[in-house]
């Protein structure tokens, strides 16, 4: 039975209605039924004291790897959604590079079934652009969309053939879905393992030039302009890419973009000591790139913050730099790292919440990421000042491949409500007030 909830006196921030004030939020039968001050409490209603907390629409992650099916030793749908909830995310989009690849209804349905069983965050699968992520023939996109996919991407395997990408952008218009591209020119990458720059030269590691991303961003923008298709550029990391997207938006190209917390937090300096937990694609670039990514977030060039949560087993990361897989987990550190943008004056708090809620929702064209009366009650309650330390043993993700282990963070999701159901999260921190039944 769904309980009625009354969240008292939180700072309610909902970018969809430009709302940012102290209010109560009432939730009944999975829906938000009232937002206002001094709302009367009904019989049997659970009251949560959110004084000093931020009450926002549930966070949305456009870019997660759940690894199931095929790589259950890294993550499962169950552990992945647990990590999402712990990080404050009520909705996550999972990438299709599973084994088998999510390029057909059977895999999409399997993922959705596992998500239903896990019963926590909403899981929205992303289907493959091409069969087997091979970049050759289009997947049956109608089948994917009708079985529950919300977008298409060959994430991790860029569609190198520009003609195939053009066709994908055109064909996706039938369904009005975004085509998500991982921008990387594989010929330029040529086996590189980190950003080409001063650190790669010092460490003698093969570099991936900044042009590897920028060239594909430029290509995708040209194709989007040509086709009037909707391109969404994943995990943008370099200054050159931000410049290109900014210019394309100014002339009306239908482009949206996301970046990840590590690109506005770390640089290639993090690779020193051959740290395989600083190895990801795109690679951590230089300071000028970090600053431009921040500028892109501030001026709206970058619409969303996504995690690119990419779990890998410890034994896989404890290898030679050349052999360790690319990627880091991110669901449980994204929120506090993003909150640093507010304390450092890059974004206002409502602008940041936008990048984690309405921003991604608008890219998906879904009625989520907002909390108007009548909306489904997906809500995240954040303690913005609570200090905590990232510790391996407290992470819900099955994998621990994070460069942020040991970091001191400020801010955490203390309660997450999905469809009116409050999830106890982060039992190691104090919960929002004490839930009291009247």
């Amino acid at each position: 039975m769904n309980k009625a909830l009354l969240i008292r006196n939180g700072r309610v921030i909902d970018p969809s209605q430009n709302m940012d004030h102290i209010a109560d939020v009432k939730i009944e039968n999975k829906l938000i039924t009232a937002i206002g001050t001094n709302l009367p409490i009904g019989k049997g209603m659970i009251e949560m004291n959110a004084r000093g907390m931020i009450v926002t629409p549930g966070l949305i992650d456009l870019h997660t790897h759940l690894r199931e099916p095929g790589f259950e030793y890294k993550e499962t749908v169950e552990t992945g959604v647990a990590a999402a909830i712990a990080g404050g995310f009520t909705t996550i989009c999972c990438m299709p590079n599973t084994n088998p690849v999510n390029d057909n209804a059977a895999i999409t349905e399997l993922i959705l079934e596992r998500a239903r069983k896990a019963g926590k965050a909403n899981v929205l699968p992303v289907g493959a652009i091409t069969r087997g992520l091979k970049g050759e023939e289009l997947s049956e996109i109608y089948e994917l969309i009708s079985s529950g996919c919300v977008a298409i991407s060959d994430d991790g395997m860029p569609v190198m053939n520009s003609l195939i990408m053009r066709r994908a952008l055109e064909y996706a218009k039938i369904f009005d879905i975004p085509v998500i591209d991982h921008c990387e020119d594989l010929n330029l990458t040529d086996g590189g393992v980190m950003f080409e720059g001063a650190v790669s030269t010092a460490l003698g590691l093969k570099g991936i030039p900044a042009a590897s991303e920028a060239i594909m961003v430029a290509r995708d923008l040209a194709l989007a302009a040509q086709t009037k298709g909707r391109i969404h550029l994943a995990h943008i990391s370099t200054a050159d890419s931000v410049h290109l997207i900014r210019e394309a938006k100014a002339r009306g190209v239908l482009v949206t973009a996301e970046t990840c917390p590590h690109y506005f937090t770390l640089t290639d300096e993090a690779v020193h000591g051959y740290n395989t937990n600083a190895k990801m694609k795109p690679p951590l670039p230089a300071t000028r790139d970090l600053l431009e990514v921040r500028a892109g977030l501030a001026d709206g060039t970058i619409d969303a913050i996504a995690t690119d949560h990419a779990p890998h087993a410890e034994s896989e990361k404890e290898q030679e730099m050349d052999l360790a897989p690319f990627g880091i987990i991110g669901l449980e550190t994204a929120l506090p790292l993003s909150l640093r943008l507010v304390s450092e004056g890059v974004l206002t708090l409502p602008a940041l919440i936008h990048k984690l809620t309405l921003g991604p929702a608008e890219i998906l064209k879904k009625q989520i990421g907002r909390m108007r009366v009548g909306d489904c009650a997906d809500i995240t309650i954040i303690d913005p000042t609570l200090e905590w330390t990232v510790q391996k043993e407290n992470l819900k993700s099955k994998s621990k491949n994070s460069p942020f282990i040991g970091w001191k963070m400020a801010g955490i999701a203390v309660s997450v409500i999905v469809a009116g159901e409050a999830m106890a999260v982060n039992e190691n921190t104090r919960l929002v007030g004490q839930a009291q039944r009247k």
């Binding site: 003698g204 570099g207 290898q319 030679e320």
Partner: protein, 308 residues
């Protein structure tokens, strides 16, 4: 004085004083090598493992000889006979070797940074015998030793390093070592083989060997990996040799007493002409001889010995 770390991973990690300590210790051991009985009991009972994941004759033999001259037990493991071909990870292989009570593991590996991976996971001392395109510190040290032996000093010398700087671990170790000891360094090669951001090394860069060798005290030639041809780094070996090969006419532009060095094995007619390789300026074989003394010094100092 002792070395500050348990491992020797890179010359970029060493202080000037530590480099000087290794060089002076090597000079002592070089005297041992000139005796009739070229063996001392210093490391009796110590176990030293050569763990080589790349083919090597010179470096492996040199370390083995250095270990034996110091009376240590020395085992050679090459990639072909190791368990990694059975799917065992590098770290597991290394942990097994450590469990057999290896005091020092000497690692050669095609991936940059693998000695650092072992060093932070094992208690054994790790010596980097060349990792990918990162560093080859014992080669760098024997180059410094050879130059100092011939020139009396390193400070103020003009050293030119020629060839594939991008992929050369020898170049990186030489550059870090030479700069710390006060030499001036110029790197020369085609732009495709000069890494980006070399300003951090405070070296001069040139694409023109004829100009760069003028006034040089030392010319270090790097081995050109023949497999780079066809990957777009340079069109043909022939063209490479014409632009960057050291021959007698180019050598004339250097100082009269310039030293010619090469880490070996040499490609005659590519980076170096035969007459120069075998000529009076060449100290290529001195480098090999000094390599044993320098590696004895490294093994000795990493075994916890202070130089009194």
């Amino acid at each position: 004085m002792r070395l500050s770390q348990k491992d020797l991973l890179a010359l970029s990690d060493l202080q000037k004083e530590e480099i000087a300590l290794i060089l002076s210790t090597a000079a002592t051991f070089k005297e041992v090598l000139d005796r009739d009985i070229k063996k001392v009991p210093t490391l009796r009972g110590k176990t030293i493992v050569n763990l080589f994941f790349e083919p090597s004759t010179r470096t492996r033999t040199s370390f083995e000889l250095a270990a034996k001259r110091l009376s240590a037990d020395c085992i050679n493991i090459t990639a072909a006979t190791s368990s990694t071909t059975k799917g065992e990870s590098l770290l597991d292989t290394a942990r097994n070797i450590e469990a057999m009570q290896a005091d020092i593991i000497i690692l050669r590996h095609p991936s940059s940074g693998t000695p650092a991976l072992l060093a932070r996971s094992l208690k054994s001392a790790i010596i980097n015998a060349g990792d990918g395109t990162h560093e080859h510190p014992s080669q760098g040290l024997l180059d410094l030793f050879t130059i100092q032996e011939k020139k009396g000093t390193l400070a103020g010398l003009k050293v030119v390093i020629v060839g594939d700087i991008l992929h050369s671990r020898v170049a990186r170790s030489d550059i870090y070592g030479l700069k710390k000891m006060g030499a001036e360094v110029t790197i020369v090669g085609p732009p495709t083989m000069i890494p980006p951001y070399t300003d951090q090394w405070k070296v001069a860069t040139s694409y023109n060997l004829d100009q760069a060798v003028v006034g040089a005290d030392v010319i270090i030639l790097l081995r050109l990996q023949r497999e780079r041809q066809g990957k777009g780094f340079f069109p043909t070996l022939r063209e490479y040799a014409r632009l960057y090969g050291l021959n007698a006419s180019r050598l004339k532009k250097a100082n009269n007493d310039a030293l010619i060095m090469h880490p070996g094995p040499i490609n005659r007619g590519v980076e170096i002409s035969s007459d120069v390789a075998d000529g009076l300026s060449s100290v290529i074989l001195d480098q090999v001889k000094n390599g044993v003394a320098v590696r004895m010094a490294i093994l000795y100092l990493l075994s916890g010995h202070a130089n009194e």
